[in-house]
C-alpha cells in the first residue's frame, strides 16, 4: 500500500558528519523467541530520534543492548566514532549513555545535590568537596533551564516533573553523550511535559543525541525530528518526521491501515438510563449534572487532576458521595460499591497494578470475583463450571493466556486490561465506567478494546469513557464532555469537538 520511507532508507543526512551513535545489524534471541533481527539505527549530535513500536516490538530489548544490560548476538555499535561494546550498565554509563526510565531511580530522603552527585561525588581523601559539587550542580541545572531549583531541597518533596530534571542532571554530570528517555511522560502533568520538552531541546542544542521512546505520537511530533519504527523485532521504517503523517506511522507500527485502528461499530442510542443530578464528592467532583442513554458512549476529557477519575469513583461509590443523586433505571442505589454493582454499574480502574486486578490471583478469580453467584450454591463454589465460564470469556475476548488458572501478573498489559473488561462484562453491567482503559497498552490491543466498546454499545450497554487521549475520544464516543476543576463544563456531540477545542475547554479559566 505504498508506505513512505521503506526499510533501509537510513539517514540521508548531511554528508560527512558521522553519527554520534550507531547500531549495525543488531540481532538478539532469547531461547526460541527472536527479539531483534538485523536492526540498525543512527543518532546524530543534535538529533532527537523517536523509537516507535508496539509493546513487544523490541524497543526495550534494543535499549537494553544499548545500555549494556544484554549483549547482542550479532552486530556492532559505535559511539562517537569508537567501537562501543559495554559489558554492563555501569560501563555504558561511564562511556556516556544515560537511561531515563519512567520509574525514577532517586533517593527521596536525599537532597537534589546529593542525588545528582550520587556515585560520582567530588571528594578528596573521602571528604566531600561541597564547593566543587555546588558549582557542578549549578552548571548542569543552568544548562537544563532549571537554575532556580534549590540544591538542598529534598527530592521526595519535589513534584514528579522536577524529579525527572534531577535524574537528567545526574546523567549530564556523568558527561552523557546519548540520553535515552523511556516513556518519560507517563506520570507527568501537561505543564511538566512541556518543560521536559524544553529540557530536551536544550540537550539538542548542546550537541547531545537523544533517543525518545513513547506511545504518544503527538508528543513525538512535538519533540523529535527523526524516527525509527520497530515491528516484531525488525525495522519497519525510518526517516525524518517532517515527511510522514501520523496515520502512516501507525500503519508502520501495526502493519495495517489506520482505519482499522478505530473500528466503527454501528450502535443505536435509546432512552436515558442514568441520570446524575448535582453529584458532589470530597473535593472533586462538584455539582455534576449529566444524562447517559442506552447504547451511548460518553467520553470524559480533561487534564489529569481535573476530577475525571473522581467522577467515576463517586458514581461507583468508591469515594464518598456528599451531595446529589444518581439514578439508574429510575432507582437510586445505596452508596457502596456492592450496591452499585447490584444496580448495574461496572467499573474498570485506571490502575491495573494496585487496584484494578489482584495480580497474584488467577484469571478465573479476577474475572468472576464481582459475580460468583452463578457458580455458587449455599456459598459453595462449583469450580468446574466457573473454570469453563472463564475459558469462555478468555476465548470471546481473545485473551492470550495458557489457562484460566494462570496468574494475572503473567499477562501483558493489553491482556490484563481485557481481563478487567471481561469482569465488568461478566458482571452483566448496564453502565460501564471505564477509566483510561487504553493506557499503557499497545496499538493492536487498543484497537480491540475500541471494537469491544462499540460492540457493547450495540448490545445496549452505556459507557462512560475517561481518557487523556482526545483523538480516541473523538473517534469512539457519541458525545464528549470536558471536565475542568472538578466540574463537567461542556458536553457536546463528538463531531462538534476538535482536539484543540477540547484542550481549550480543559485549560480555560472559569469564574466559579
Amino acid at each position: 500500500m505504498g508506505l513512505p520511507h521503506a526499510v533501509g532508507e537510513e539517514a540521508s543526512r548531511g554528508a560527512g558528519s558521522p553519527p554520534l551513535l550507531s547500531m549495525h545489524g543488531i540481532s538478539k534471541r532469547f531461547g526460541a523467541t527472536r527479539a531483534l533481527k538485523d536492526v540498525s539505527l543512527a543518532v546524530h549530535a543534535g538529533d532527537v530520534l523517536a523509537l516507535i513500536g508496539e509493546n513487544g516490538a523490541g524497543k526495550s530489548t534494543l535499549m537494553k543492548i544499548l545500555s549494556g544490560a544484554h549483549p547482542p548476538d550479532t552486530g556492532r555499535m559505535e559511539l562517537a566514532g569508537a567501537a562501543y561494546a559495554p559489558e554492563n550498565p555501569h560501563a555504558a554509563h561511564i562511556a556516556g549513555v544515560a537511561m531515563i526510565y519512567q520509574e525514577l531511580n532517586l533517593a527521596p530522603d536525599l537532597s537534589v545535590e546529593d542525588n545528582i552527585m550520587l556515585g560520582q561525588e567530588c571528594s578528596r581523601w573521602g571528604r566531600l568537596d561541597r564547593t566543587l559539587q555546588r558549582r557542578e550542580v549549578a552548571r548542569v541545572l543552568d544548562l537544563l533551564g532549571h537554575a532556580d531549583l534549590p540544591p538542598e531541597a529534598l527530592v521526595g518533596t519535589l513534584p514528579a516533573g522536577t524529579r525527572q530534571v534531577v535524574e537528567i542532571a545526574r546523567a549530564l554530570v556523568a558527561r552523557a553523550r546519548v540520553v535515552v528517555f523511556d516513556e518519560p511522560t507517563s506520570s507527568l502533568t501537561q505543564a511538566d511535559v512541556l518543560r521536559l520538552f524544553e529540557v530536551i531541546r536544550k540537550l539538542r542544542q548542546s550537541g547531545l543525541g537523544v533517543v525518545y521512546i513513547s506511545h504518544f505520537l503527538e508528543e513525538i511530533r512535538a519533540v523529535c525530528n527523526r524516527y525509527t519504527v520497530l515491528r516484531d523485532g525488525e525495522i519497519a521504517g525510518a526517516g525524518d518526521l517532517a515527511g510522514i503523517s501520523e496515520a502512516d506511522i501507525v500503519a508502520l507500527m501495526v502493519g495495517r491501515s489506520v482505519n482499522e485502528l478505530f473500528p466503527n461499530v454501528a450502535h443505536q442510542i435509546g432512552d436515558v438510563v442514568l441520570s446524575i443530578e448535582g453529584l458532589g464528592g470530597g473535593r472533586y467532583p462538584q455539582s455534576v449534572n449529566c444524562d447517559l442513554r442506552r447504547g451511548e458512549i460518553l467520553g470524559i476529557a480533561g487534564l489529569v487532576g481535573s476530577g475525571r477519575t473522581e467522577l467515576l469513583r463517586c458514581l461507583f461509590a468508591l469515594d464518598p458521595v456528599r451531595t446529589g443523586t444518581v439514578r439508574l433505571a429510575n432507582l437510586t442505589p445505596r452508596a457502596s460499591p456492592r450496591a452499585r454493582i447490584a444496580a448495574g454499574f461496572g467499573f474498570v480502574s485506571e490502575d491495573r497494578k494496585t487496584e484494578g486486578l489482584a495480580q497474584g490471583r488467577s484469571i478465573a478469580d479476577n474475572l468472576t470475583l464481582s459475580r460468583l453467584a452463578p457458580y455458587s450454591r449455599w456459598g459453595w463454589l462449583n469450580l468446574t463450571q466457573r473454570r469453563a465460564a472463564a475459558n469462555d470469556w478468555i476465548r470471546r475476548l481473545g485473551i492470550k493466556a495458557g489457562s484460566p488458572d494462570d496468574a494475572v501478573q503473567a499477562l501483558s498489559g493489553g491482556n490484563q486490561q481485557k481481563v478487567a473488561l471481561a469482569r465488568v462484562m461478566h458482571q452483566a453491567a448496564d453502565v460501564l465506567l471505564l477509566d483510561e482503559p487504553t493506557r499503557g497498552i499497545d496499538v493492536a490491543a487498543k484497537s480491540e478494546i475500541y471494537r469491544l466498546m462499540g460492540e457493547l454499545a450495540a448490545a445496549g450497554k452505556s459507557i462512560m469513557f475517561v481518557s487523556s487521549y482526545a483523538a480516541e475520544l473523538l473517534a469512539v464516543c457519541d458525545r464528549v464532555g470536558v471536565m475542568a476543576r472538578g466540574r463537567l463544563r461542556e458536553v457536546r456531540a463528538a463531531c462538534d469537538w476538535t482536539e484543540e477545542s477540547i484542550m481549550h475547554c480543559a485549560v480555560k479559566k472559569y469564574d466559579e
Binding site: 461507583f316 468508591l318 460499591p337 456492592r338 452499585r340 454493582i341 447490584a342 467499573f347 480502574s349 494496585t354 487496584e355 484494578g356 486486578l357 489482584a358 495480580q359 497474584g360 490471583r361 478469580d365 479476577n366 470475583l369 464481582s370 460468583l372 455458587s376 456459598g379 459453595w380 463454589l381 469450580l383 475459558n391 476465548r395 495458557g402 489457562s403 488458572d405 494462570d406 501478573q409 469482569r423
Partner: protein, 340 residues
C-alpha cells in the same frame, strides 16, 4: 472439543505447580524425619525416634499449635496477623478450667472456651475494620488485654479443677498418648484436628467466602472494587480464627489439666512460624492448610529429635530459628523464579 484438548496439559501443569508449592514444606518434613531417624537408628541415639510411640507423642504435642495455626492461616492469607492468638489460647484454657471448677458440665465448659475465643477474635476484627488501624498494632494491644482478662478470671493464679471429680475422662484424654485413650490408633484430639483441617481446606478452596479471603489478601482495593464487603469479611475471618484458637485452648487445658493465664505468652510466635514455614506469606494472598500442618509438625519433630539426640534446649532453639529463616528464603527464591 478443541478447547478440552487445548487446556488439559495446561491444567495438569497448574495442578503440578500448586502441588509443588504445597509439597515443598512436606518434603522438608520428610527430610527432617529422615535425618533424625537415620542418626537415631545408626549413630547411637536411643533408637526410639522412629517408633510409633514417638510419632504419637510428637503429633499430640503438635496439635495445640497446629489447630491455632489453622486459624492463623486464614488471617495471614487475608493479609492480616493475629498477635493475640497466644494469650487467647490461655484465656480459653482458663475459662474452661474456671467453668469446670464451678461444676459446669464439661461440654458447656468447652463451649464457653470456644465462645470466649470467638468473641476475642470478633473484637479484633471489629477494631481492625472500624478503626482502620493495622492488624499488627490492634492485636499487639488486644494481646495484653486478653492476658489481663485471663488473669482477672484466674485471680492471678492457676485454676486446677479436681481431676477425678470435675474433669471427665474424655476431656482429660483428648490429647493423651496413653493406650486406653487411643481411638483407631490416635487420641480423639488428633482426629478432631484432621477433621477441622479438612473442613478449613474445603472452605478456603470451594466457597465464595474462601475466594474473598484470598482476594482481600492479594489486593484489598480490587476486592472492594468487586463489591466484596471487606469489613464484614474481616470480622468473620477473625472470628473464625478465634474459633480455632478456642479449640487450641481446650487442647491446652487437656494437656495441662489446669488453666494458667500466662501459659500462652509467646505461643503466638510459634503459631505464626508454623504458617510461615508452611508457605504462608505475611504480605497476604498465599498460604495453605497442608503447609501449616506441616510447618507445625516440623517444629515439633525437630524438638523431639534434638531431645532424643541429647541436644540441649538452646541448641533446639537455634536450629528452629535457622529453619524458619531458611524456609522463608527458599520460598522467596521459588516465588521470584516462578514470577520471572
Amino acid at each position: 472439543m478443541h478447547l478440552t484438548s487445548d487446556t488439559r496439559p495446561a491444567r495438569t501443569a497448574t495442578i503440578l505447580r500448586s502441588a509443588k508449592t504445597t509439597l515443598g514444606p512436606f518434603l522438608a518434613l520428610i527430610v527432617v524425619i529422615g535425618f533424625f531417624g537415620v542418626y537415631d537408628t545408626w549413630f547411637g541415639g536411643g533408637g526410639q525416634f522412629l517408633s510409633a510411640r514417638n510419632f504419637r507423642s510428637v503429633s499430640v504435642a503438635t496439635a495445640t499449635i497446629a489447630v491455632a495455626a489453622l486459624g492463623m492461616t486464614v488471617v495471614i492469607i487475608a493479609g492480616g496477623i493475629d498477635l493475640s492468638a497466644g494469650t487467647t489460647v490461655a484465656l480459653s484454657a482458663t475459662i474452661v478450667a474456671w467453668c469446670l471448677k464451678a461444676n459446669w458440665p464439661a461440654p458447656l465448659a468447652a463451649a464457653a472456651g470456644i465462645l470466649i475465643a470467638c468473641t476475642a477474635g470478633l473484637i479484633n476484627g471489629v477494631l481492625i475494620s472500624t478503626l482502620r488501624v493495622v492488624p499488627f498494632i490492634v492485636t499487639l494491644g488486644t494481646m495484653t488485654i486478653y492476658l489481663g482478662i485471663a488473669k482477672i478470671i484466674a485471680r492471678e493464679t492457676t485454676i486446677r479443677p479436681d481431676l477425678n471429680e470435675q474433669v471427665p475422662r474424655w476431656l482429660a484424654d483428648l490429647l493423651s498418648a496413653r493406650t486406653e485413650a487411643l481411638w483407631f490408633g490416635a487420641p480423639a484430639g488428633i482426629w478432631l484436628t484432621l477433621a477441622l483441617s479438612l473442613a478449613l481446606a474445603a472452605m478456603l478452596h470451594l466457597t465464595v467466602f474462601g475466594r474473598y479471603v484470598y482476594a482481600i489478601g492479594s489486593n484489598e482495593s480490587t476486592a472492594r472494587l468487586c463489591g466484596v464487603n471487606v469489613p464484614w469479611c474481616k470480622m468473620t475471618l477473625y472470628t473464625l480464627a478465634g474459633f480455632f484458637v478456642g479449640v487450641a485452648g481446650i487442647f491446652q487445658f487437656a494437656r495441662l489439666s489446669s488453666g494458667n493465664p500466662t501459659s500462652g505468652t509467646g505461643l503466638e510466635l510459634r503459631i505464626i512460624a508454623a504458617v510461615v514455614i508452611g508457605g504462608g506469606s505475611l504480605s497476604g494472598g498465599r498460604g495453605a492448610v497442608l503447609g501449616t500442618l506441616t510447618g507445625a509438625a516440623i517444629m515439633e519433630v525437630i524438638k523431639s529429635g534434638c531431645t532424643q539426640l541429647g541436644l540441649h534446649n538452646p541448641v533446639q532453639e537455634i536450629i528452629l530459628g535457622a529453619i524458619i529463616v531458611a524456609a522463608v528464603t527458599l520460598d522467596q527464591v521459588r516465588q521470584r523464579r516462578s514470577a520471572g
